[in-house]
Each structure stands twice: as C-alpha cells, then as structure tokens.
Symmetry: C2
Subunit: 398 residues, 2 copies
C-alpha cells in the first residue's frame, strides 16, 4: 500500500566469485582488510578446557581444596587459596556449568518461552527479562518463535534440567490445557499475559482493562461521545480484555450511547478496512479507538485517503505505543505498555519463586499502563501517566 516497486540492484555483480573484494579495493582503500590475530594460548594438544583436576595438580592440592577456595566456602589458608587462584587463572579455569549443576541442582539459568513475535514487544520483553536476570545472577535460555503447540511442548521438554525456572508468554496455543499437559510440576514458573491461574505458577498481566478504560475516559473528557472501537482477534487475551474495558468504560462514562464495534485482527490492513467501514456509516463516529496501534495506523491511512482530517473530523487512538505511533502524521494517541518493566517484574517474581519456593506461587499481578496523549485524538495537551504494579489477588494455596 505504502510502497510500490521496481527492482534495483544493490550489489556489484562481477564475474569472478571472490572479486567483489577486489572491486572495492579498486574503488577505495580495501574495507575488508582485517587484522590477523591469534586468539588464546592454544595449550598443547586439544586441552581446550582445564578442569578442576588440572588446577589441583597445578596448585599441588586436592580437588576439594580447589572447590572450597574458588567457591569461598572457607576452611582454606589464605596462602593456599592464593596459590589455587593463581593456578586457576593461569589455566584459564572456568567451572563446567553442567557438571556443577548436576550436583548443585541449580542451573542458574531461567528459560523464556514465547510465541513467534516480531518487533519491539519481543525485544523489549527479553531486554527487561535479561537485565533483571543478570542482576539476579541468572542466565537466559530463550526459546521463541513457535506458533504450534507441538513446538512449544518440545521446547518446554528440552528445558528440563537446564533451567531453574521459566517465564512463559501465553498465546492462543499456549493456554491452560497446554500448560497442564506440558508444564513440569514443581518447576517455578511465571505466566505472562495469561488468563489461567495454573498450579503453583505466578501470573503477571498487563492492565489492558484499565488502560482502555482510561483512554475512553480521556476521549469522553475532551468531548467525544460516539466512540467506535476496532477490536482485535477473538482468541487473543489482550484483545478480549481491551474490548471488555471499552465496553465497561462506555457503559459507565457514555451511558445510553449505542456501541459501535467493528472487528479487526491486530493487523494494519484490518484497521484500514475498519476505517473504511466506519466512514461508510450512517452516523460517523466522533472518535475511533483501535485495540492496537497497527490497526490505528491502518485507520489513519483510510482516513487520509478519504480526505478526512484527524483529529479535526475524527479523533483516533490506539494501544501499545509502538515506536511508529510517534512518527505518523498526526502523532497517535495511545496507551503505553511498559514492556521492559513487564519483563523485569516477571523475572523478579521468578527469582523469588526460585529462591523461596512457594513464596509468590499462584499469585496474580497486574502491571498498569500509561496513556500517551498526542495530536490524533484532539484535546491535545500532551503527556503520559504511570501506574505501578499492583497485586490483585493471592490465594493462599500453600
């Protein structure tokens, strides 16, 4: 829609396979010239990794002393500890994670299981999780990109014995039944964006309901009455919550108004179609609230093509605050989800669950959203708001 296309070769086509390099050279100083460099010391033979035994031999002590010294368990003379540490450093000794976790029962690793996600949401979530994991001394085993339940189940199985806990981002496929069948009993788990309260798992959700509610309140506040809603896919938990929030808000804040809800699928083009459909209505809405930003962007495109002024003739709002929202014309008002914080909180919850088994088990948490008022919804005075994580419900299941 926005782009059209003819082909234009980007790279140099030359006969010889390796000559691209040479061609560059002839054009310019050769950017591919690279410093040759030997890595590591390449000890004799294939001794690629030193073990605790090697260190023990080198330091002329037993493996037990090496273990004690390096783990700070005490019971070792300062001088022998020094000797051991030096030997370890000399040999570039690093404890073998698998071996250690075999006896320790701790992998210091958490898993992240998520559906096939593109873009900002995924990266921000992982970012939040990873940062917090590191601060807890945990590593992150990621398994993303599965649409199928079979994929996800396999990934879950493969994590057995490799993780101390797991963060699971729910999806239509990874639902209650799936978790019941595949989530190992006793494995600390945090469910993100899930409608199930599953066993001992903690649940952390986005406050879609309140976010939508607040946006409706803003729209009503700036004088809009007939607000249409573009809903998301029915099998999506977020989408359902957002629609519920919209219905509740309208019932409360604009009572008596007949609800206008057209369905979309979170995709840009479904938003475009919804926009066209709304324009064709007998009574045109004063504002359109799309259940996510991509659909709002599609709407905007439809309005632009029809020559409708936004927000002059129709106000527009979205949900998510994807980066694009700021850059469309006019900039899109939306509900911001603090994704990295969601990840961070999930990780905190999980760490707690791991360190104090049962502590946060079966608790349900909710992360508030902000609304970001930009130009697309009229009554623009700008700004954002923030709320904090609130514990909603915590049955004493233990």
């Amino acid at each position: 829609m926005l782009i059209t296309g003819h082909l234009a070769r980007c790279c140099f086509r030359v006969a010889a396979k390796v000559s691209t390099n040479i061609l560059f050279t002839s054009l310019h100083e050769n950017v591919y010239v690279q410093p040759t460099l030997r890595l590591g010391g390449a000890e004799r033979g294939r001794q690629v990794t030193a073990t605790i035994k090697d260190v023990a031999r080198e330091a002329k002590v037993s493996v037990a002393s090496v273990s004690r010294a390096l783990n700070g368990a005490g019971g070792v003379t300062p001088e022998t500890e020094k000797r051991i540490r030096e030997a370890a450093a000399r040999l570039r000794y690093v404890p073998h994670g698998a071996a250690r976790s075999l006896i320790t029962k701790r992998t210091h690793t958490v898993g992240a299981l998520m559906p096939d996600l593109h873009g900002e949401f995924f990266s921000e979530l992982i970012r939040g999780i990873d940062l917090e994991a590191r601060s807890h001394g945990l590593h992150l085993l990621v398994s993303s990109s599965h649409d199928g339940a079979e994929d996800a189940a396999a990934a879950l199985r493969a994590m057995q014995g490799r993780v101390d806990g797991i963060v699971i981002l729910s999806s239509p496929r990874v639902d209650a039944a799936f978790l019941e069948a595949n989530l190992p009993d006793g494995l600390p788990a945090v469910l993100l964006n899930s409608e199930v309260k599953a066993g001992a798992a903690a649940v952390l959700n986005i406050d879609n309901f309140a976010g939508t509610y607040a946006m409706v309140r803003h729209l009503v506040g700036v004088g809009h009455d007939r607000i249409a809603f573009v809903s998301g896919p029915k099998d999506n938990f977020d989408a359902r919550q957002r629609e519920a929030g919209f219905r509740a808000a309208m019932a409360k804040l604009a009572p008596g108004t007949s609800l206008r809800i057209v369905s979309g699928d979170f995709g840009e083009s479904s938003g475009y179609r919804a926009g066209l459909e709304l324009l064709a209505s007998k009574v045109r809405p004063q504002a359109v609230f799309a259940a996510n930003d991509m659909m709002a962007v599609g709407c905007l495109q439809a309005f632009k093509e029809a020559g409708i002024d936004v927000p002059g003739e129709i106000a527009l709002a979205g949900f998510d605050d994807i980066p694009i929202a700021r850059y469309v014309t006019p900039p899109l008002s939306t509900v911001r989800v603090r994704i990295a914080e969601l990840g961070k909180n999930a990780m905190d919850l999980l760490a707690d669950l791991i360190n104090r088994p049962g502590s946060s088990a079966a608790s349900v948490h909710t992360l508030g959203c902000d609304i970001v008022v930009r130009e697309s919804c009229g009554g623009h005075r700008g700004g954002t708001s923030a709320t904090t994580t609130k514990k909603i419900h915590r049955p004493s299941n233990r």
Copy 2:
C-alpha cells in the same frame, strides 16, 4: 519534540490495595476471574523429576537398556523397547540435560552474546538465529544488554561448558582485543559485524559498503548531484563502512563534486541537527543521505519544520529500513538490511563449525543489502532489490 505532556492517570486509584479487582467487577463482568487448575499429577512426595533409574526399575530393565532404547541406539528387542517407552511416558521421564551433556560433551545449545540493543534489529536477529538453531536441534542461550566489556567478559565466561558454540555481535567494546582475551580457544564462534578476523572464528558482515554505494548510484541516477552525507559514530564499524561506501561511490559516480559530510551519532536528534546545519549551508544539497534511518527521520523533521518540501526541494535517504521508515511522510527511501537472514546465516555457519570443526573457520562472509525506493528521494518508481550472501575471503588456515 513530538510529544509534550501533562499527566493523566491511567489506572483506578482506590483506597484498598486489592480492590481494583472488585472495582472492575462492579463495572463489568469480572475479567480477572480465572479458572483454577491443577497442574501435573504431583507424584508422591517431592519426586519432581523421574530419572533414568526410575524408568529402569519401572520397566524392570537396566539403565543401560533404557538409555539405548530411548536414544534409538539399537540392540534392544522391540517388545522391551515398547515396555521401556511406556514406562518412560508413564513417569513423564525427560532426560536431564546437564547430566547428558556432561558425558556427551555436547550441550546442544549455542550462545548469543550481544550489546545492549533496542528494537527491531535485536528482535529480528534473535528471531533469525533462534529459528535456524531450532532447525539444527540447538537451543539458544542469550546474553544481551551489556555495554561494558566487563559485563560481556563475565557473560562469556559463564557460557563455558553450557554451549557448543557462540554467536557474537561485535560492538565498540567487544572488539579484537576483547575477543583475544576472552574468547575461549577452540570454542566455535561466529563474529557478526566484526572487523577482526579472529582465530578460528568465522565472520559474517553486512555489506554496508555496497549498500551505500547502490543508494548513491540511485540518487545520482535520478539526477541528484550534490549529495550530502550524515555519518554515524566514528567508533561504529557499520558507520565507518557506510561512510567509506559513500566516499567511494561519490568519487566514482559524481567525480569532481566536493564532499559534504556532517557527523551524527545514529540518534534521531543528531539527524535533526544535521538537517538544520545542511539547510544553513551556502549551497544547499540536492539530496541528503543519512547513515541510518533514525537520523534520516530527524533530518526530515528539521526539513518539515523549515517548510522544505521532501523530495521536491531536497531528496532524503536512510539506511536500515526500520519499520518507521515506511510510515513517515513522505515514506523514506532506504537500504534494507535483512536482519533475520543475517541471524539465520550466522547460525548456519556456527552449526557447520560445530559439526565439522574447522570447516568454516576463519572464513569471512558478507550479506548483501537491498535498496528500497520510496517517495523521499524523488525519481520514485518504487521497489526493492535483493542480493545473496557471498563468500569474500577464506584463508586456508587449517
């Protein structure tokens, strides 16, 4: 710049801590009602995970037979195998990864080490890596979000014995010296976006040079002569290559033109400043080529505010093809980097390195780019082009 602000509360503020839930209920059917659900069978006691011994006992065979049967190593009667499989299924037996890799010397896991990256690039890269890893039967241990060399070194150490190989995305901090000091000798590694050819590691780069060159050719082709360039940070490899490509292209395709290069830092606001600076020039450029899209977007903002028509008065082009590029007005012409493919190729290279040690070692590969012609650079006939990965150089270091 684009957003201004007043605060608007998004969530309901109520006195009681837990009452948000109740409030919602009073507004609407309670969206937080969640099905209670017992997970797993909860075998007796704390037997949370069955081991191979349990299966052996259950099937009345030795652990050796269980191992053979489940690994398809042969040497086991169909009926005993059946009995073993049934016992395993009954006990929900899953082999303990750590224990297995201790003896196998294979973790079936690869590490991904990357700097603190936001947005699309990170997510697409991980996506490409993860998808391909899965198809190779490998898992992904991610360690992202370090700016410091110390951070990265610690992450690298922690991967010892937990991964069979590693993909490293270079950054100013993770450079030749860093790798020499920290990359374990003998560990299969693929360096992404790196200017060093390090030991036995394979290197995979984006063809920044050719991408920039092609875009300049396009700009010149549609009649622009005085093309200004907004460069990126000097310590960034991509930025340097792109500038080199620009210089080379201009020298070849627009000889005699005096070069106009203003420096930026890849950030939007530096692009904005560069835009203002260029507008203030005695001789205004016909086209501006920014070393990345964010700077181009900043430029565009500066031009818009100055009332300059794009592409009418000044053409504009960027690099990366971030999602935003399509949505600004006018849509931004740019050089597309196929990031997921980069990740996929890196993973392929690594899998090769793992399975056939030394096979792809010390090879250098380059992934071509596409140019995407949209409206911002004039001469708009639309479209993209694609090139494929080409092997540039492969010393016989083995």
